[in-house]
């Protein structure tokens, strides 16, 4: 069950592969022995509770932090990323839950932030604002988002819309792997559905997706493989066929820890009022 690499012969090289990756902050171990592989057109879900090491994992893949144990491979080549820019150049785009956009900037400026097209030369080198506005509108339209006014501050969009703009941006800039940090966490049911659709759309275009979440229901809808993290280390890695939603939810919620808690609560229950199971 805990197989770290299930790459069958003949399947394409993993776009991103972690093998026993670890990370320490001073004396504290944030991550240890985590392995996963993302292939084109595949959604790998990383599940874990708060503090399980999900955000550390994202920071390593997106180039914000360097790993200090194990191997990190992109297209089979071992790398140590120095910056998010380097990750982007290698085709890894990360969409963060809360810091994906600059709220007060217009949608089109956000869309091209960090990769702005320029026109003209010498001192007249300038942003190609007309093309930026047009391209933004078109790229969003392709994802089914129809903005009449791309000049509005992106902060005026709803959370789901902002996530979708960020995903559309990653796809537009030729990302081969998108890392999504809790894309559905702060969203309502309807908005979450919209975002998951874009995840599936990105997958169908042949992108690799790393979906980091603590919601097993959302993960199970789109995931091909589920990597469970607990207290900084791997608690399991399952292919979609191997695990049902119930089992995923149980493991996610703490697995055997939860069973122990159940026994504990069961013993103490007779002394208190019965309010039903949590």
């Amino acid at each position: 069950m805990n197989g770290t690499s299930t790459a069958a012969a003949g399947s394409p090289t993993a776009l991103v592969e972690l093998a026993g990756v670890g990370k320490r902050y001073g004396n504290a171990t944030a991550l240890e022995g985590v392995s996963l592989a993302v292939r084109p057109g595949e959604v790998v879900c990383v599940l874990g509770d708060n503090g399980a090491g999900k955000s550390t994992l994202i920071k390593i893949i997106s180039g914000l932090h360097r790993h200090d144990g194990g191997a990190f491979r992109i297209d089979g080549e071992e790398v140590r990323l120095a910056s998010p820019r380097e990750a982007l150049d290698r085709g890894i785009a990360t969409v963060y839950q809360d810091l994906a956009v600059v709220p007060l900037m217009p949608v089109w400026r956000n869309f091209f932030l960090g990769s702005e097209p320029v026109t003209g030369r010498g001192p007249l080198r300038r942003l190609d604002t007309a093309a930026m506005r047009r391209t933004t509108r078109e790229a969003l339209l392709r994802m089914g988002i129809d903005l009449r006014d791309v000049d509005q501050p992106i902060g005026t969009l709803s959370g789901g819309e902002r996530q979708s703009v960020a995903i559309a941006r990653a796809v537009h800039f030729g990302a081969r792997v998108i890392v999504l940090d809790e894309p559905t966490a702060a969203l309502g049911v309807k908005q979450a559905r919209v975002v998951l659709r874009y995840v599936a759309a990105a997958r169908d275009q042949g992108l690799g997706v790393v979906l980091v979440t603590h919601n097993p229901h959302h993960a199970h809808l789109v995931g091909d493989r589920f990597v469970l993290l607990r207290r900084g280390s791997m608690a399991g890695s399952h292919a979609r066929e191997e695990i049902a939603l119930d089992e995923l939810t149980r493991q996610m919620a703490g697995g055997s820890d939860l069973d122990r808690l159940g026994h504990e609560l069961a013993r103490t229950r007779p002394s208190g009022p019965d309010r039903g199971a949590p």
Binding site: A100, M105, L113, G155, S158, V194
Partner: protein
């Protein structure tokens, strides 16, 4: 999925275009204020609207505006510079003392001053990005150190708190023509600082709205983590912004030197707050990510009109500060309102 666009369109329409308009044009509020101040003094003060009066107002506005523009850019980038006021004096002192002590052409002093001032700006920015301390603390430190250095070194080298006159030195006349002369435009006599000021506003507006660097400045101030995550060189942007303030401090400092010939080493203290106030009145958010160079220029214009208008109206000049304080509060309230509307759903 088909329902999404319709729902979205309704959503955006409901949020209203007013706040969006205002947030797209941060200087609008300040312009309304500027017109009100203009009308007020035109009625209350004789001679305010005459060419000589307007020339004086524009000169006062330009000396503040030259600094307010880069300070505004820095604030849009999310930082402060409390050392901006005394840095002007430092720049003038270096220029004057180098020329005098080395008996060099004044242009040599001007060049050395440029390097030293840019180095101070670089120091501010570099220390900020390295230590990650608040810019308030770092530039407060620079402010105090420069204040001490200005007085201390000037006394140590020259024996007094002001520099020696360099008016008879080689190159003074041409440097004065560049930094502190009068020009005549269509019968109006205007100080050349007005040209520097307008050129800086134009350059800063171009940079902010039409270059990649401008996009990065907004992003660095608006959400530095998001900017870094998409590959914006946030630290380089910050260092560059501090060096921009230094560049303007150099222009201001040379003006100071070449219009008065001697420099008082204790000058400049307190001006940093006036630059910041002008930028804020012009629509810059204290928290960064929003504002404009034109707004800062209008803020400086309000300062110029108020300070000279009070003189022309023959009032007690002490009311000047009270008036500006009230303007600042009003402007900040307006800014806060705009921001709340623009970020309504985030």
């Amino acid at each position: 999925m088909t329902a999404t666009p319709a729902a979205l369109a309704k959503d955006t329409a409901a949020r209203g275009p007013v706040a969006r308009r205002l947030s797209a044009r941060p200087e609008l509020g300040a312009m309304v204020g500027a017109v009100a101040v203009l009308v007020f003094f035109a009625l209350a003060a004789d001679g305010f609207l005459r060419p000589a009066g307007l020339g004086t107002v524009l000169y006062a506005a330009s000396t503040i505006g030259i600094m307010a523009v880069p300070v505004a850019l820095l604030m849009i980038g999310g930082e402060f510079d409390l050392s901006a006021g005394v840095m002007v004096t430092s720049s003038a002192l270096v220029s004057s003392m180098f020329s005098y002590q080395m008996t060099a052409n004044t242009w040599a002093g001007v060049a050395v001053s440029l390097l030293v001032t840019l180095a101070i700006g670089f120091f501010n920015g570099w220390t900020l990005t390295r230590t990650r301390l608040p810019s308030f603390i770092i530039t407060l430190g620079t402010f105090l150190m420069l204040t001490g250095l200005n007085l201390g070194l000037t006394k140590l080298i020259g024996g007094t708190v002001s520099t020696r006159a360099i008016g008879d030195m080689e190159g003074f006349a041409s440097a004065r023509a560049v930094f502190a002369s009068d020009i005549t435009v269509g019968g109006f006599q205007l100080r050349i600082t007005i040209v520097w000021w307008l050129a800086l506003v134009a350059a800063a507006t171009w940079i902010l709205l039409r270059t990649r660097a401008g996009n990065w400045i907004f992003a660095t101030g608006g959400n530095a983590d998001a900017a870094r995550a998409v590959g914006v060189p946030v630290d380089r942007v910050r260092v560059g912004l501090y060096m921009g303030v230094a560049l303007a401090a150099w222009i201001s400092g040379q003006h100071l030197l070449f219009s008065y010939d001697v420099v008082q080493s204790g000058e400049g203290v307190g001006n940093e707050l006036i630059y910041i106030a002008a930028a804020v009145i012009g629509g810059c958010l204290l928290t960064g990510g929003h504002g404009s160079a034109a707004g800062a220029a209008v803020g400086a214009l309000i300062f110029g009109m108020t300070s000279k208008g009070i003189v022309y109206a023959q009032w007690d000049p002490n009311w000047f500060k009270f008036f500006l304080g009230a303007m600042l509060l009003l402007a900040t309230l307006l800014n806060a309102w705009i921001r709340k509307r623009a970020e309504a759903s985030s």
